[in-house]
Symmetry: C2
Subunit: 412 residues, 2 copies
């Protein structure tokens, strides 16, 4: 067997709780498959262009480090948001990339990220084929938003869903404890500009001992303010604590975002900037104004994508699997491909890594099917729940040091 | 031994992750000590006045239920915010309370709560002594804010601190992964109107592999906007990601809250209400305006007090201990007392339940000592860390059912 060269891996786009588990999968499989060195580009292709990279063997010293990496949120190598220009627009940048790759004796280039990252894989693999470069280019998906096509679901989604469902359950409990003879409406805002997968995940809080949210609104269905207020009023006749979850990106029939409704001419902040309130804050204010009851609004914010202390075991394992599968595919001669997760079986849940031509990946976002929402468009159906439930199962106990989860971090 | 009568327990004020562990401690010890029935008042003294109560033996059927209760956030029995009038103002209400107590054959009344709850204990025990009623009244402290005097710390504080420190660590990691050649300032807002204990807890995120927050501002020290901006600018010369944690209640030298600064005449929301921005949102806007870098603001909001999935084992155990100690004290004849936590030893950390005359509890809030903040007033000292570190140690694994933490809830 000919001696193998080196491999390089990068991370790109918004981080997730498990993007480092994919990195761990790449590293471990690359080592097992006999690659010489495994480099990590710092801050993705952007840092790579500045020749910022690290030999991962200086960072990962043991199986314990691999386990720690699986439990570390955010991009261990640093991330970037950088879209490569078209080849004909800027061939110099491609020449530069390949000269660095050749200098480092790279045979395989793996990029963990979202749609933009798959675009990078496509362009680089096209360029390599046209110019006769030997490198293989493979993509590994990640996004909490679960809006990538072709893959059954994306690594990162299950953990975000688990955190969101857990926190929703805890908030519902908190609200119930507080409402005796006064009504209260809690509005919870969840990430998701166009796709409502994460907001739908709040339905998981409906369990034998919890009602779950009362209403769930996704961007996939036009939001009707009047109907919403009517619904809240009806619910308040039956219960004292009403909990509503909404995607940040819910829109009216006419296409305006609900959060834009706060943008009257008078709504400027202390610095004179026109200010958009959050969607939940706006709706809570609206309810207070129109119905008069106590309200509170909560945004899960960045915690949704970084709360690795509540990551799903299934998700961490699958993220690891797709990282390793990318290395295997490249080692077996594939290029210009993205690894995906195929659902092999529902009961028991089983998944496997599949592979897709990166040219076939459309840039459109995968939305929640309309049929997975109820008729009124204010809750998800059992199909949705059957789809998502397996993805939040199990956990990897954080390694607790001095009472806090320990992370693996880059040593420079 | 004479046959014992019954005992009643209630919960009051803002809930915590461990207020139910105190309830579990009351229940278990009452049963062990031979009390006949253990009643729980629903929504504290307010529900009690409406004769809303439950026999806890219909709710707790096993040691497993006790363990589940310890892991359930918010007030299992429901909470209230209700201050008893002075005895001379409304003697009828006291007569009503004691007639219900007599009807239920109550010998011991235990109230888990904050300052207002201790006021309730004081008034009821005074009334009982003056009127010759036999009931004993005992208070069990709880608050995430840790602002009660006489007790070394309050049950609920350690778990909130653990959640806040964990989330801060995860947010710092998230920010680091995102900042390559652009600066970003993250401003995190933590609960605490007058006392900065919880915001100080973010310093725990400073560990061998994490810088922790760069600046920490508590309400105990006047906030200087100019100095703050200068400090941020200096930090941005050295690092790309700066993370600042602030108490919601930080104030200027002249006593105005920082969040009030957003309240210019133009700052009204979509409904014409004058609107106060959050402290973090205001400061993030200010930094963006004055320094021009990317900012983000995050509020931990209600999650701080309800995230029992990240509760501290020390805290849960101590909450259980003080619940049990209240029953013991009453059983041994005490009344008009509050149980406190005494720190017996620092290394190894050991604590024990103590007891205080509830008349001696001043209503003033316990603040972070000035000497536990650095000279500039923008970080906590090692004394602060030595105090808080033992309180976040260990965990109780949540009982996970179908991927989510299970709770014990009231069956009606």
């Amino acid at each position: 067997m000919a001696k193998k060269g080196n491999i390089i891996v990068g991370q790109s786009g918004g981080p997730t709780s498990v993007i480092n588990s994919s990195l761990a999968g790449v590293y471990k499989t690359a080592k097992e498959r006999g690659f010489h060195k495994v480099y990590g580009m710092l801050h993705g292709i952007q840092g790579f262009l500045d020749e910022q990279y690290v030999d991962l063997s200086t960072q990962i010293h043991s199986d314990m480090d691999i386990e720690l990496l699986k439990r570390t949120p955010s991009a261990f190598l640093g991330s970037c948001r950088y879209k490569l220009p078209e080849i004909h627009e800027n061939p110099e940048i491609y020449e530069k990339i390949f000269s660095i790759l050749d200098k480092l004796n790279i045979e395989v280039f793996i990029y963990i990220g979202g749609n933009d990252s798959m675009d990078t894989i496509k362009k680089l693999s096209d360029y390599a084929i046209v110019r006769g470069h030997r490198q293989k280019f493979l993509g590994v998906p990640k996004t909490i938003d679960n809006d990538l096509a072709l893959t059954d679901h994306t690594p990162g989604f299950g953990s975000a869903a688990k955190y969101i469902a857990t926190s929703t359950k805890e908030l519902i409990r908190d609200a119930l404890g507080l409402t005796y003879n006064k009504d209260m409406v809690t509005v919870v805002e969840v990430m998701g500009r166009n796709a409502g997968w994460l907001t739908g995940a709040t339905a998981l809080a409906k369990t034998e001992e919890c009602d779950g949210p009362d209403l769930i609104y996704l961007p996939e269905v036009a939001f009707d303010v009047e109907k919403f207020l009517k619904k809240i009023q009806d619910l308040l006749k039956k219960k004292k604590s009403v909990v509503v979850t909404v995607s940040e990106g819910i829109k009216l029939e006419d296409g305006r975002y609900v959060c834009e409704l706060s943008g009257g001419p008078d709504y400027v902040d202390a610095f004179g900037h026109k200010q958009l309130q959050g969607t939940a804050a706006y709706l809570a204010g609206l309810i207070q104004n129109e119905i008069g009851c106590k309200t509170r609004s909560i945004e899960f914010s960045t915690l949704q994508r970084s709360a690795s202390h509540m990551a799903s075991r299934v998700d961490i394992n699958e993220a690891f699997m797709v990282g390793g599968a990318a290395v295997k595919a490249a080692d077996e001669g594939d290029t210009g491909k993205m690894v995906v997760i195929d659902r092999v079986s529902d009961d028991p849940y089983m998944s496997a890594a599949g592979i897709y031509d990166v040219h076939k990946i459309a840039n459109n976002e995968k939305l929640v099917p309309r049929s997975w929402l109820n008729k009124e468009g204010n809750y998800v159906t059992n199909e949705f729940l059957n789809y998502i439930e397996p993805l939040i199962q199990g956990d990897y106990q954080p390694f607790m040091v001095n009472g806090l989860p320990q992370h693996l971090v880059l040593k420079k």
